[in-house]
Symmetry: C2
Subunit: 175 residues, 2 copies
């Protein structure tokens, strides 16, 4: 139903329709964002051979949704994503000053050869993109690079009609 509407709004352009749909699901997700998370599921993905484990707790509002196999699949997909993409932070807001400082130290050397006038801007750019790459919700989803993990979750919110949130994630690796 919603797909048809989006396709009409976009004048039949599939790519435009996708963006309209994505915006719609983000809007729905934000409407549900003050609801209570009373249920959820813990899921783990072990990479073939056992070199890496990704694990998440994905919360929702009711057991009705948490028991849905498709919700379990969503949690499992995010666990797989965590194993593969090694995020360090859930959102940009979770990045601490000390993380920025550490990144600044690492990248300071890389911009040393630049003229002084452009050095600070280059450094800030490097730090921003480095950190953005480590933020789970901003990372491109490992199984579909066209959407971010945030958009994947927003799609879930739309599908299940409940607020959904990654409340914890861990990645364990041998080396």
């Amino acid at each position: 139903m919603q797909c048809k509407k989006a396709l009409e709004e976009s004048g039949g352009d599939m790519e435009k329709a996708k963006i309209i749909l994505r915006k719609a699901s983000a809007a729905i997700a934000s409407k549900k964002s003050d609801r209570e998370l009373g249920a959820g599921i813990a899921a783990a993905y072990t990479h073939a051979g056992g070199a890496v484990v990704g694990a998440v707790v994905l919360a929702c509002e009711t057991d009705f949704v948490s028991r849905n196999p498709d919700f379990g699949k969503l949690a499992y997909d995010i666990a797989m994503h965590v194993a593969a993409m090694n995020p360090k932070f859930k959102t940009k807001e979770d990045v601490k000053d000390e993380d920025v400082r550490a990144a600044r130290e690492v990248f300071a050397k890389e911009v040393e050869s630049l003229p002084e006038a452009s050095r600070e801007k280059a450094l800030t750019g490097k730090i921003d993109s480095f950190i953005k790459e480590k933020v789970l919700l901003d990372q491109p989803f490992v199984k579909n690079g066209d959407i971010t993990v945030r958009e994947l979750i927003d799609t879930g919110v739309q599908k299940f009609g409940e607020k959904i949130e990654v409340v914890r994630f861990e990645r364990l690796s041998v080396k």
Copy 2:
């Protein structure tokens, strides 16, 4: 071979023989304790229904051992144990002063009604046993309460002939 020897030493007493074997494997484990951990496996156990995930990194010396399915099973068993028994510390040495302080505050109320002379001793006893229950290597193994997790690992050391160590464990639960 070693079993036969232990049985002889124990004069045919099975329980005694088990203890002799356990001591032997602890001795072997301690001999190997300064070797290098160059390999390992990450394993996860998801409790039916997805309420809890236990995950561990179990290290050994070589890929030869880490690729052994029995080593994978040992890691999986420890992950299951972590999910079920919710350990907080790997060893007693990992318990921090603040953990002891927090336990002291919790238990102080429980011993308030005791005569002052015996209060401190009762409190120390409560704290010690509370903390011991939270130490992974000292916990009774969830699938066989006759041995601790440390003894389970020592048996692995004897079996695989390499140093084995839990280098990390995590437990993720919905509530």
